[in-house]
């Protein structure tokens, strides 16, 4: 298999992994603990409403005297599970294929690969709540049904309301960053639509070629420490996170590098709902090479750190049952990361630090807590390519997703959603032959949690 084919297959697998490893935080255990229906905290689960966001920001507490576990029935078990049996259709256009199957030396042709069938998502085991008043926790072991392995998606402890102030909360462990659009509560589940380009886009160096080694994504859970806070009404919010680099992989894979994240926002109550504006920045370092022993990289010995950043601003607008969130993000990866060149060595001729702009627009129409219609459009536009001479629009991307979720019942014990979705991504000039590539998904299934 040529490097281009490997890259194509790897990208497809990466996209698939993104979609199947979608731990979501819709936690019926909370509903059971407090006796509230799912709709009390979720506009349509797993999307939080203002009450649910406040509950989360308070450390999974309603701030009454029933928060501490000592007040629960001894039989109360703070555990919920979620899985989505589904049928889905995938179409990957302009995929490089050996013209003679099994013969890597045969000429490469590009064709659309379609696949479909019945499938399973991963299983999320969601355990969360309070260890004591103002000490909360979240532990999410996640079973990957494809790799048949178990990972720890989240594991953190949070000290809430330090010195009695909602502005001081300290979280320690593996956690989701305080993102504008949560990928852990994403309402879309398909391979092409089940993640945000905003968080996962990686620039192309040339047609069919990605050399960038920075796969850190602010959409993924990270390991670190977070200081966060909010006003009593939750209108003013902030979160500052210091995390180890390595995209949340345990074991210090990069050795000794860190990244930081800061998010500030302000909400406004209006007759049409709570409007919010905010800004964030994700700035970090990643190693460009590893020390080796006998030519083999030494784990945890990353060196030659170089930087990247993602800076964004957004607005979230509510008009009754309709809401729209728009995010603008500016991104840049250092040229050494983008070209996989060890720092201190000579860069390839004509190499630059690639930069790009992303626009994300996500809208919902919540007809009722039992039916939500979802639409999303994302566009990525390169402003600086990694190398001179490549088309300026190489890697430009347009992605749209539409879908709906229907919840046949709504109570405080379990949740079930019938989910249908279609998503499509068009990437400019990214096939090995320089053709536009389209990847599409159709997904339907029963999403349930109990």
């Amino acid at each position: 298999m040529t490097s281009r084919k490997r890259l194509g297959v790897a990208l497809l697998m990466f996209a698939s992994l993104l979609a199947v490893s979608k731990p979501a935080a819709a936690i019926p255990a909370f509903a059971r603990k407090y006796g509230l229906p799912c709709s009390a905290c979720h506009e349509a689960w797993p999307k939080l409403n203002t009450f649910g966001q406040t509950f989360k920001d308070n450390g999974y507490q309603l701030n009454n005297d029933r928060d501490a576990p000592i007040f629960q029935q001894p039989s109360y078990w703070p555990i919920a599970m979620r899985i989505t049996p589904n049928w889905h259709f995938e179409s990957a256009g302009k995929t490089p294929i050996d013209s003679v199957p099994g013969d890597p030396t045969s000429p490469t042709v590009e064709q659309t690969i379609n696949s479909h069938g019945f499938d399973l998502s991963g299983v999320d085991i969601l355990t969360a709540g309070t260890l004591a008043k103002n000490i909360s926790f979240l532990l999410v072991p996640s079973i990957d049904s494809v790799a048949e392995s178990i990972g720890v998606e989240s594991a953190n402890v949070r000290l809430d309301n330090l010195w009695g102030s909602p502005y001081l909360n300290l979280k320690f462990g593996k956690m989701e960053l305080d993102n504008v659009l949560s990928e852990k509560r994403i309402l879309t589940l398909s391979n092409a639509g089940g993640f945000y380009q905003l968080y996962h886009y990686v620039p192309f160096a040339a047609a069919g070629t990605v050399t960038d080694i920075n796969f850190t994504s602010q959409g993924d859970n990270q390991i670190g420490i977070e200081l966060s806070g909010h006003s009593l009404d939750d209108h003013t919010r902030y979160a500052a996170t210091l995390m180890s680099s390595g995209d949340g992989t345990p074991g210090l894979p990069t050795g000794r590098t860190y990244s930081g994240y800061l998010h500030l926002s302000q909400g406004f109550t209006t007759p049409w709902g709570l409007q919010r504006v905010g800004a964030y920045s994700f700035v970090g370092l990643e190693p460009t090479y590893f020390l080796t022993s006998g030519g083999v990289p030494v784990a945890g010995a990353g060196r030659g750190n170089r930087s990247f950043y993602r800076i964004g601003a957004y607005g979230s607008l509510y008009l009754g049952k309709f809401d729209l969130t728009g995010v603008y993000q500016r991104s840049l990866d250092n040229v050494f990361l983008a070209t996989a060149t060890p720092a201190g060595t000579t860069l390839p001729t004509g190499a630059h630090s690639p930069s790009w702009n992303t626009g994300t627009f996500e809208a919902h129409y919540t007809y009722s807590p039992q039916l939500i219609i979802i639409g999303r459009y994302e566009l990525v536009r390169m402003s600086q390519q990694t190398f001179d001479g490549v088309p300026s629009d190489l890697g430009n991307l347009d992605s749209f997703t539409i879908g709906y979720r229907y919840y046949p019942f709504m109570h405080s014990r379990a949740g079930l959603a019938w989910h249908q979705e279609f998503a499509s991504i068009l990437s400019k000039g990214t096939s090995p032959a320089g053709q536009d590539q389209r990847v599409s998904s159709y997904f339907m299934g029963f999403d349930f949690a109990f």
Binding site: T50, Q370, M410
Partner: protein, 280 residues
């Protein structure tokens, strides 16, 4: 099949699915209102909010018999009776809207009722409008007159001591206990208006009360009583000065540091005896 055809087919399927879901009476079961002639637009909005947030405990018919009611103690309020604990109006009368809104905003300590502060002020008013449709009392009666809360006097050691004497004299201790722990000799026998066991408030358990956290809130509880519970109104039994004395004394039971507690300590105030007598 060409890509455009596939997209069209999928869009059609999704629209069809969404239409089917909406056609199944989702609106009625869901939390958002179905237009009804006998509800005003505000009540309809309130109904949607009620079905989203409140129905699990208070029940579809507002009778306090929601799905979770069997597991909750104290039981959720039965709105069909229109009897409310937390009021600023005289005993036996309907509360003001502001009383109900305050309860929604504040929540009720030692119960499953959380603070619904994240709801907008307009949403709280919408909810109240709908809750009032559960009982005909709201059509036939007007809310009672709000009691007047006189200006709070300066707290002194003498007033704290006088409060203790009042606590003994009107026999608060029989339910609330001589140390305010809710364990008086009558505590185990108490029931609410519907015959369900009810526990007197334990003043040592928190810094706030069922119906608020300020001295004025506590004063109002004495004078209005908590309708539907054994806690009566003392408006005919004690003067406003005596009520303030009681407020000051009850503050000495609470777990936080307070000037009343400090004054009681400096004045050498001795605990009430188990028989309810005050040691001079």
């Amino acid at each position: 099949m060409q890509t455009t055809h596939k997209i069209g087919f999928v869009c059609m399927m999704m629209v069809l699915g969404a239409g089917l879901a909406m056609a199944q009476g989702v609106g009625y079961a869901s939390g958002y209102p179905v237009p009804k002639d006998d509800l005003t637009p505000q009540q309809q909005t309130g109904k949607g909010l009620y079905l989203r947030y409140c129905v699990g405990c208070h029940g579809k018919y507002g009778d306090g018999a929601g799905d979770n009611a069997p597991y909750i103690d104290p039981k959720p309020r039965n709105f069909t009776l229109a009897i409310f604990k937390c009021r600023s109006t005289t005993t036996g009368t309907l509360p003001l809207d502001s009383d109900l809104i305050s309860t929604i905003e504040r929540g009720i300590i030692h119960s499953n009722m959380p603070s619904w502060r994240p709801l907008s002020p307009q949403n709280r008013e919408d909810l109240i409008a709908y809750i009032k449709t559960f009982s005909p009392r709201w059509k036939n009666e007007k809310p009672g007159d709000a009691i007047q809360v006189p200006a709070e006097p300066e707290v002194t050691a003498e007033r704290v001591r006088a409060g203790q004497e009042e606590f003994a004299k009107v026999q608060c201790w029989k339910c609330h206990g001589v140390e305010g722990r809710g364990n008086g000799p009558s505590a185990d026998t108490l029931t609410d208006d519907q015959g369900r066991p009810i526990t007197p408030y334990d003043f040592t358990s928190a810094n706030r009360f069922k119906c608020g956290s300020t001295d004025q809130d506590l004063y109002k509880i004495f004078m209005t009583g908590l309708d539907g519970t054994p806690m009566p109104s003392f408006s005919d039994n004690i003067t406003s000065d005596q009520a303030w004395d009681l407020v000051f004394f009850l503050r000495t039971f609470q777990p936080m540091h307070s000037k009343e507690k400090e004054m009681a300590k400096q004045a050498g105030l001795k605990p009430i005896s188990p028989a309810g007598t005050v040691t001079p």
